[in-house]
């Protein structure tokens, strides 16, 4: 199995730029921008940092599966969620063509149709994970629609209003004390051989594993969800709620 994985790795590397025909101009363009660079595959499917793709005997099923899902444990990313449907089909058709395969007319239904978000929700999605805010953004602790770090539990509902979002109670956040250092903490495991907790003293939260008995817990803390929202104004929070309403399934 190792050998197979190694082979696949050789057969696959990362993302981004150019070369020739089926899939039309669009396939060529997507390939050039997403697959062919000196660091990854070469133009026209020649080898670059990643292996050759032309004339490898790949079939359409393998190509589409690999382009969409990537190859775990290698540099080959999953394009299924990052390219839109038309680009995805075009680039698969292009690689099909490099392997002498004629792509089936309507290849494979996309597992995930690109969701239509309202402009507000789209803006909310961007704000939720806005990189310019460094750690002062929702995605530092929350995951939604596949983006963000899942420190908090998955959303089960969306607050009614910005005011409600600000005032969310956080009864699970306790005060932990280790060697005289007290800090707000979200405990994951207090009863095992080791204590596991998220240390919330600074952002980003740190998942810490401590010897049993090294930490004591006290109910409640000075930690407030509202303080974590300081980088956003009400309008922005409204857009974030719009995004969450669109993607959170109760």
């Amino acid at each position: 199995m190792r050998g197979v994985a190694g082979l696949l790795l050789m057969a696959a590397m990362l993302a981004a730029q150019p070369s020739a025909p089926a899939g039309g101009e669009r396939g060529l363009d997507v390939f050039n921008k997403s697959c062919a660079t000196g660091y990854c595959h070469g133009v026209k499917g020649t080898p670059g940092g990643a292996p050759r793709l032309a004339a490898r005997g790949f079939d359409d099923a393998y190509i589409s599966q690999t382009v969409r899902n990537g190859i775990a444990g290698t540099g080959m990313p999953a394009f299924g969620t990052s390219l839109d449907r038309a680009d995805l089909l075009a680039v698969i058709a292009y690689v099909d063509n490099l392997n002498g395969v004629t792509p089936p007319p309507n290849p494979f239904a996309m597992q995930r149709e690109a969701r239509k978000l309202s402009p507000d929700a789209q803006r909310g999605r961007q704000l939720f994970a806005d990189q310019v805010r460094a750690f002062q953004r929702c995605s530092t602790c929350h995951q939604a629609d596949g983006i963000g770090i899942a420190v908090a539990l998955p959303f089960s509902s969306v607050p009614e209003s910005v005011a409600a979002l600000r005032q969310i109670a956080t009864p699970h956040v306790e005060t932990a004390t280790e060697e005289g250092d007290s800090f707000p903490a979200l405990a994951l495991n207090k009863s095992g051989a080791q204590t596991k907790l998220y240390d919330l003293k600074t952002l980003p939260p740190v998942l810490r594993t401590l010897p049993k008995g090294a930490v004591t817990f006290k109910e409640g803390s000075a930690w407030r969800h509202e303080a974590m929202l300081a980088s956003y104004n009400d309008r922005e929070l409204e857009a974030i709620l719009e995004f969450l309403r669109a993607v959170v399934k109760p």
Partner: protein, 553 residues
């Protein structure tokens, strides 16, 4: 006898008197040996007179074969710590190779990007390793049990990952980021070593309203690259942390990011920065490559040495850029003191003036290939130089590989590739591609000796007080050169290509030389387009350890 020679001789004498502590001895405590990045061991049990007797004494196969073994082991008190491509970490008995513990990082499913790991830091009872999905992890040094873990970014969003070795500075772990050939804004993060809590973060591209942001056009600063993908250095006396900053993005197309305003261009990409180690505040910067369009990262190691320059003792930072040029800076203030090429082929410029200005830039253009030397693999790859205070020479692995580059306007999509063009490997105009190991006077740039090699040398250099320089080649040979002459004194076929960084240490008075073996990496795999036989450079992931036969044998 010319003046330069007199100065050189004088400088060597003075250097010996003004001793810096850049050498390792029984331990190999930090990625670059010490925080000064010399990769020099003061051990001399193995030396020019006996190196021929060197034999392998143990080896360790990690089982993690993807991308070869690119790491630098760390040795402290007879225990060797080794990281592998998928951020596995091993603690081994440094005398026997017996495994003490193994830590297996759970890699995320369907992860994209370039998975590799070049090393770890050890201290405060912990081993620190970065991961492909941008977590920093601390492992208990005694038990191998995870102590803390923190996400420095959402890797699926930023396309960034931690591939370099962290640097332990006082009570903090300093961590760089890879990802600067994508639409990404680089940063350097300092964490409290004990708790993992954020101490500071330095963005390599100033944000809106900050000085330097005006050198970026519109919003281009948000995705302008500036990765920090290798490991920096630290001067304890000055309390300054030095780090090399990667290329601007999009890599080969600058019209959508160059504002023409302010000093420099696209700050602080293509620069070396000096930061206050406690606060992360910028003290000075020097931009080697303003408005980069060649993918000439300034991300490589910062060699910190004290040497006379034009008769005056200076605290220097010697820094090789991907462009094949070496910059010599005063590390107290960033003053430019000189620059010299280490490559024979440098077609991207006509020269550098005495005050550091780049003349006669040859840039990639749209719609047609331009031959540019060196190519984006660099005049040197990330594998590191070594410096010997005994010879006063800097030892460099240099590549003579060019590229046909084409630039192209591209719209950034966060976390996705953002090269702004394409490139392919090409041989230099005058003949085939090759590489060479050289010894340089690191101040004047005088080449003291040179050894040519027919393929690309992508392993780091190790210098020792035995007046030896060790490194390996892609065909699997690990070898020792005479540090004063370049004469090859010994070699050993390790069985796999060399792409890692050798170290030296001792246990109970016996000196060891340890080298990672196993071919891999982006640059390594890309060589097939220039040497088809590079397909046969052997992968693997084995640490091979050498010593002299024990006395009495």
């Amino acid at each position: 006898m010319n003046m330069r020679y007199v100065l050189l001789t004088l400088s060597l004498g003075l250097a010996a008197l003004w001793a810096q502590n850049g050498a390792t001895s029984k331990d190999w405590p930090s990625y670059g040996g010490t925080q000064l990045a010399w990769r020099y061991s003061a051990l001399d049990q193995i030396n020019t007179s006996n190196v021929k007797k060197l034999v392998p004494v143990w080896q360790f196969q990690t089982g993690d074969y993807a991308q070869g073994l690119q790491s630098t082991p760390i040795v402290i008190d007879g225990v060797l710590y080794l990281s592998t491509t998928h951020s596995q970490v091993f603690a081994l008995d440094a005398a026997t190779g017996k495994m003490i513990w193994q830590y297996k990082y759970p890699m995320p499913r369907g992860a994209g990007g370039n998975i590799q790991n070049r090393g770890i830091a050890v201290g405060f009872g912990k081993v620190f390793v970065g991961t492909y999905d941008d977590y920093m992890v601390a492992i208990d040094q005694k038990t191998g049990v995870e102590s803390w873990k923190v996400a420095l970014a959402d890797s699926s969003q930023c396309g960034c990952s931690i591939t370099g070795a962290p640097l332990l500075v006082k009570d903090k772990v300093i961590v760089g980021e890879a990802g600067g050939d994508g639409a990404f804004r680089g940063f350097l993060t300092a964490l409290d070593a004990k708790t993992g809590r954020l101490a500071w973060r330095f963005y390599t591209i100033p944000g809106a309203g900050e000085k330097g942001n005006e050198t970026w056009k519109g919003d281009s600063w948000k995705y302008g690259g500036g990765a920090t993908w290798m490991t920096g250095s630290f001067d304890r006396d000055l309390n300054l942390l030095y780090w090399g900053i990667g290329n601007a993005a999009s890599d080969m197309y600058s019209a959508n990011r160059f504002s023409g305003e302010g000093e420099g261009a696209n700050l602080y990409t293509g620069s070396v920065v000096a930061l206050d180690a406690d606060t992360g505040k910028l003290k000075w910067y020097y931009q080697e490559i303003p408005k980069d369009v060649w993918d000439y990262d300034s991300a490589y190691e910062c060699l910190l040495i004290d040497r006379p320059v034009r008769g005056v003792m200076r605290k220097l930072l010697v820094h090789i850029n991907k462009s094949g040029y070496t910059w010599v800076l005063d590390r107290t203030n960033g003053e430019f003191l000189g620059a010299f090429p280490i490559v024979d082929n440098h077609t991207w410029l006509a020269g550098i003036t005495e005050d550091g200005k780049i003349l006669g830039r040859v840039e990639p253009v749209e719609g047609k290939a331009t031959l540019i030397c060196p190519g984006p693999d660099g005049g040197k790859s990330w594998n590191q130089v070594a410096y010997s205070p005994r010879t006063g020479f800097m030892y460099t692995p240099t590549l003579e590989i060019c590229s046909d580059s084409v630039s192209r306007e591209q719209t950034p999509v966060e976390g996705r590739g953002f090269l702004g063009g394409t490139w392919s490997h090409r041989a230099p105009a005058q003949g085939p591609a090759y590489s060479h190991i050289d010894a340089y006077d690191p101040v004047t740039g005088k080449r003291m000796w040179s050894v040519r090699y027919k393929y690309a040398l992508l392993a780091s250099m190790l210098a020792t007080a035995g007046d030896l320089v060790f490194t390996g080649d892609p065909e699997g040979y690990f070898f020792a050169l005479n540090a004063r002459t370049g004469e090859k004194l010994w070699s050993f076929q390790t069985g796999a290509g060399n792409r890692g960084s050798a170290i030296s240490y001792s246990v109970n008075g016996r000196q060891y030389i340890a080298t990672p073996t196993g071919w891999g990496s982006i640059a390594g795999r890309g060589l097939t387009s220039i040497w088809p036989e590079a397909e046969n450079f052997r992968p693997g992931s084995t640490l091979v350890v050498f010593a002299l036969p024990e006395s009495g044998q």
